[in-house]
Each structure stands twice: as C-alpha cells, then as structure tokens.
C-alpha cells in the first residue's frame, strides 16, 4: 500500500522560478550530473529545463514517481458511476420503457456507454491534472521562459535558494557551465 504522504508527494507541482540562478550546461548528461550535485548540496528549490524529458530526471529531482495515475483512476471511476447512475435514473425512475422484453435496468447493454464515459472522464482529468500541476493554461501564455532556449536545444538548471554565485560555481564543480541571474539571461545572443 502506498501512504497518503507518498501520494501527496507524487502530485507535486511546477515551482515557478521567482529568484535565483539559471545555470546553462552543455548537454542532457551534464544537466543530470549538475542537478545531482545541486540536490546533494542540499538546495531546496531547484528544477531543470530541457527540450525533452531526460531519463533519470525523477532521481536527480528527488521525486519517487508521478501519481498522476491516481487522478486517472478517480476520474475513471467517477465517469463510470456517473454514467451508471444517470442511466439508472433515466431508464428505471424517470421514463421506464420496455425494449425487446428486457428488464428496465439491463446493465449488459450499458457496458459500451459506461466504458466510453470511463475513458472520456479519465483522459480529460489526466490532461487537466498535468495542466494544473504543470501550471499551464491560457492564463500562462505570457510566461517568460526561465531558460529561454530550453524548448529548443538548451539544458539548464534553476537554483532558487539564496546562495551566492560562487557557491553555485562550487556546486557545479568540473561541469562546463554558465551562470546567469534569473530574468537576466542574455537573450540577444541566442540563436543561429
């Protein structure tokens, strides 16, 4: 059995960078190593930014697993029970009609509809969960990317604790990196 605490931890949210440092590194491998160092140094608020999901991110970010599936499960059960109770109300209470000599409540015939409703609710809730926990949505379209080219080909680590540039440098060790203040990234020299 999983504990409530583990479930809660598994429903973690995106931590919107508001201060601190953006450390640009050269590659996905360096990003993983860097984030590992950051975690070991005891930094509380940090995140990585990359163009694709790098295997091993959970480990370096200190996350056991995403419990998004819990949302899927609850929504799926909700979809099925909503469908079943709605059909029960309609076919048995509100307007009972005999079709083909079958009972008013002939549940095998409802299976396809209940199945579709399960999938429909589960899929939309799963996507909704990602939007909520990733803090994505139509109100976020003006968000300034902390690492301006992380969606293209840049790998960065955000460090949000109050530590000095020298300490960041020490944490990164021998990994090739560039440190920028958050929101002061040299965008102009960016691309191609």
């Amino acid at each position: 059995m999983v504990s409530i605490k583990e479930l809660k931890e598994g429903l973690f949210s995106y931590d919107e960078p508001d201060k601190g440092w953006i450390v640009d590194v050269d590659s996905a491998g360096d990003m993983l190593k860097g984030a590992e160092n950051v975690k070991k140094a005891g930094v509380k608020r940090f995140d990585t930014f990359s163009p694709f999901p790098v295997h091993g991110l959970e480990k370096v970010l200190g996350i056991k697993r995403s419990w998004l599936t819990l949302i899927t499960l609850i929504a799926g059960i909700t979809g099925a029970s909503f469908g079943l109770s709605a059909i029960y109300y309609i076919d048995v209470i509100d307007y009972p009609v005999i079709f083909g000599g079958k009972p008013y409540f002939s549940w095998p015939a409802y299976v396809p509809i209940l199945f579709e409703l399960t999938i429909l609710f589960a899929a939309f809730a799963t996507v909704g969960g990602v939007l909520k926990m990733g803090k994505l949505g139509l109100s976020k379209t003006h968000r300034r990317p902390p690492s301006p080219l992380a969606t293209c080909d840049m790998f960065s680590i955000w460090i949000g604790d109050d530590i000095s540039k020298e300490e960041v440098k020490k944490i990164m060790g021998n990994i090739n990196h560039k440190i920028h203040k958050l929101d002061a990234h040299p965008l102009e020299n960016g691309y191609e």
């Binding site: 996905a28 990359s50 694709f52 999938i119 994505l136 301006p148």
Partner: protein
C-alpha cells in the same frame, strides 16, 4: 544500446532536427501546395453545397430506397472512421510496445485520425434526414417528456464511442503538440529579438503559437508528469480505439439482416480499420516526406514496416472474408447462404471482386523485400488498398440490404451523382484539413525525435 536504436538514429543535433522539421513551414507555400489546396478546398465546397441542397430538398436526392436505406453515406462513414484507426494505433499501441520507428510518423498519423473522424462524423449527421434535430441524439433533460435516448441501441453507443474517440484523440494530439509549439514560440522569439519579424502575418503566427503553447517552458518536474500522461493516454486510447470500430460493427452485427448478423464482425472491422488506416498513412507519408524533404526522418525503413503491417492486417481481413463464407455455409440458413452467393454472382459481384482483388491479393506483394522497399510500389498498393477497403464497406452495406428475406422487397441501389459528389468532396474535406495542418503545425513530433536522439547520445557516452 539496443539493435533498434542504431537503425533509426539520425545523428543530427537538436538544432538541425528543429530546422529540418520547422523550416518548410516558415517559407511561403509553394505552387504545388497551393494547387492541391485549391483543388481540395473546391471539392470541399462542392460537398458542402451538395449537403446544403439535400438539406433543402431532402434525402430523395440520394440513391437510397426502401430496402437499401443505408446508402453511400454510411459506407463513407465506416470507411472514414476506419481510416482514423491507424493514427491511434501508431500513437498509442506502438507507443506501448516501444516501437521506436513510430516516433517520426506519430504526429501526422494522429492528425490524420482527427481529420478522418471529423470527415466520418459528417455522414451520420447529414444522413439523419432532419439534421437540424440532430441534437436529439444527446441524452439531456428536455421538454419532450422528457423523452430519453435508447441506451440499449448500438446507434447510441456509436454516438458515445465516436465523440469520445474524437475528443480523446484531439487532446492526446494537442498535448503532444504543446512542447513543439513552445519550441516554435521560442524559435520565433529569437527572430523577434534580432529584428527579423516585422510582418503582420508573422506577428499573428507568433501570437498563435504563444497562446497554443499555454506557457510551456520545459520544466523537469512538468516533464515527469507529462511523460506519465502520455503513458496514461496511450493506455486509455488503446482499448478506446478497439472499442470504436467494435461499436461501429455492432451497428450492423446486432441487427438481423443476413450478412450482418455475425459474431466475427468486431475483430473483422477492427482489423479492416487498421488495414485501411495504414494504407492511408502510407499514402500521406510518401507525399509529405517528398514534399517537405523529410526523407531522413520518414525513411524507407518506416515505409517498409508499414508495408509489413499492411500485409499482416490484410491477411486478417482475408481470413475474415473467408470465415464469413464458412459461417454462411455452416449455418444451414438459406437466406444467409443466398446473401453470400449473391455477393459472388449477383448484380454487385463487380464490387465484391474489386474488393477481393484489392484487399486479398494486393497485400501479398509485401512479402517481397524488393517490392516493399520500392516507394512507387508502396504508393500504388496503398491507393489500391484504400479503394478495396471502400468497396468492402460498400459490399457489406449494400449487398446485404438490397436482397434480404422477402424477394418482393428486393431493390437495386444506384448511387446518384449527389452520392458520388459527397464521396469525392469528403476527400477534399479531409485533405483540406491535412494540408492546412502540414503548413501550420510541426508534422513530426520534434521533442520526441530529440528525445530519441538525446538518449542515443547519452547511451553512447557522448552526452552532447
């Protein structure tokens, strides 16, 4: 590093991948695009005009009559829903089976699903006779009694199945697009910074990708949830896609029409759907890779794999055809037996034999490695299979209906030019959307390709 990794590796940097995929969209469309777009838009308008005419005049404009009350509209409906299935197979089922080659064809195939289901969805709506009352199919509290829909009817199951399939495919596809849209946004932003963007069109495009990318910044924490979401949606879409054509086949199988009332229908329809869908994916991919110079991404190896799937599903479909005859022979039911003899020799025998030649014979060319790596052969086979699969639905719907139990009620079904016009126009409608898609959205999943490349490089220890 697994063996499959080396076959599909591109050895390209992230920036090269992005340039290859995005740059065809950043140029003004060429003559070829405009030519096909205008033709297809014209066909679409013709279809909308014909549909409008049937709204005014009524369904008497079509070839349907008393025994054959389901005409070409239902044939087209089943055909287009089937086309859609390959997209979900690629995006969901092949994802769960960790088939890496699907990565580059996934996005376009899924777009194809959405447009095919949109096209399919038109047909029941325009077939109902009084389309302005089509909202009656939704069970909502109403002032007509309340008069509810019949939850035991396969036709209502179909309403639920198709609308769920469409909406789930749409969000799956859109969520897959979000990282790529953010990529487009940031790429354009740097053009902004460097003062290259001035035109109104580019500003509009920037606003479009900025809004659609809903604030995606590539955070590691969000990626973890996102990866889980892709897995969950793939696991939900897999049974969903199987259920959709199963429910479509129930429309036929649960009625007591000879030739329809068979338990083999659900798997038979699902196999046929994947068969025709892969043929359509192949047609589209061969054109897209050529037009946008994406041969490195959609390689001959991808097309060969699709050819093998066409071979396998083609044989499943052939098996189902054979079994139908065995069932009829074994049933000792004279009416059932007559329907199948009528398919072979009756007035619609030409449709049956067209179907047979296209669907049963043509996939066997895929046994030969030489043929299934020849693009011209693949293209021809893909078109032939699509024609064959359309005729399969024609045979199922029309031959079963036109001669059932009582010979006095037999009647021929002759499609009118309105029937044919709507069929041709539906292709225009489908390609209209597909052509818009390849010009406005990345037709290859950039983030996924980068991920595969990135992990290859991590595995090789380069890390760059």
């Amino acid at each position: 590093m697994s063996a499959s990794t080396s076959i599909y590796s591109l050895n390209k940097t992230n920036r090269e991948i992005e340039r290859d995929i995005l740059s065809p969209m950043e140029k003004f469309p060429g003559k070829l695009w405009w030519f096909t777009f205008i033709i297809n838009a014209g066909l679409m308008l013709m279809m909308l005009g014909l549909i409008g005419w049937t709204f005014v005049e009524g369904l008497g404009l079509l070839g349907i009559n008393t025994p054959v009350s389901w005409g070409l509209y239902i044939v087209n409906f089943v055909f287009w829903v089937g086309i859609g299935h390959a997209g979900t197979l690629i995006s969901a089922i092949l994802y769960l089976f960790r088939q890496r080659w699907r990565t580059t064809i996934n996005r376009a195939a899924e777009a194809m699903t959405i447009f095919a289901v949109m096209t399919a969805g038109l047909f029941p709506l325009i077939h109902v006779g009084r389309p302005w009352m089509v909202f009656f199919i939704f069970p909502y509290p109403n002032e007509r009694g309340p008069l509810w829909v019949n939850f035991r009817s396969p036709l209502l199951w179909d309403v639920f199945a198709i609308s769920t399939y469409f909406s789930v495919s749409l969000i799956f596809w859109y969520m897959g697009l979000v990282p790529d849209l953010a990529n487009m946004r940031d790429r354009m932003k740097f053009e902004h910074v460097q003062g290259k963007i001035s035109s109104f069109g580019k500003k509009l495009k920037y606003a479009f990708v900025r809004i659609l990318s809903i604030g995606w910044v590539g955070s590691g924490k969000t990626w973890i949830h996102y990866e889980k979401m892709v897995m969950v949606l793939a696991s939900l879409a897999t049974p969903l896609v199987l259920s959709v054509h199963t429910v479509v086949s129930f429309d036929f199988a649960t009625s007591v029409i000879p030739g329809w009332h068979a338990t083999i229908f659900p798997p038979y329809f699902v196999a046929g759907a994947i068969y025709s869908g892969f043929a359509m994916v192949m047609t589209l991919m061969i054109i897209t890779r050529k037009a946008f110079k994406l041969e490195a991404y959609i390689s001959i190896k991808h097309l060969e794999n699709m050819g093998i799937i066409i071979l396998v599903t083609g044989m499943m479909v052939s098996f189902a055809y054979t079994m139908e005859f065995v069932f009829a022979a074994y049933s000792a039911n004279a009416v059932e037996q007559y329907v199948f003899i009528n398919r072979l020799q009756g007035p619609y025998a030409w449709a049956f034999w067209t179907m047979f030649a296209c669907n049963v014979v043509s996939p066997h060319f895929m046994w030969s490695k030489k043929l299934r790596t020849n693009i011209v052969v693949l293209f021809i086979i893909s078109i032939v299979v699509n024609i064959g699969m359309w005729f399969e639905r024609f045979v199922i719907v029309i031959t079963s209906l036109h001669r059932d139990y009582i010979p006095s009620s037999w009647e021929m079904f002759i499609p009118t030019w309105v029937d044919w016009g709507v069929l041709v126009g539906s292709f225009g409608f489908f390609f209209f959307w597909f052509l818009l898609f390849v010009r406005t959205l990345p037709s290859i999943a950039i983030a996924e390709v980068k991920m595969d490349e990135g992990h290859d490089q991590l595995a090789k220890g380069m890390g760059h």
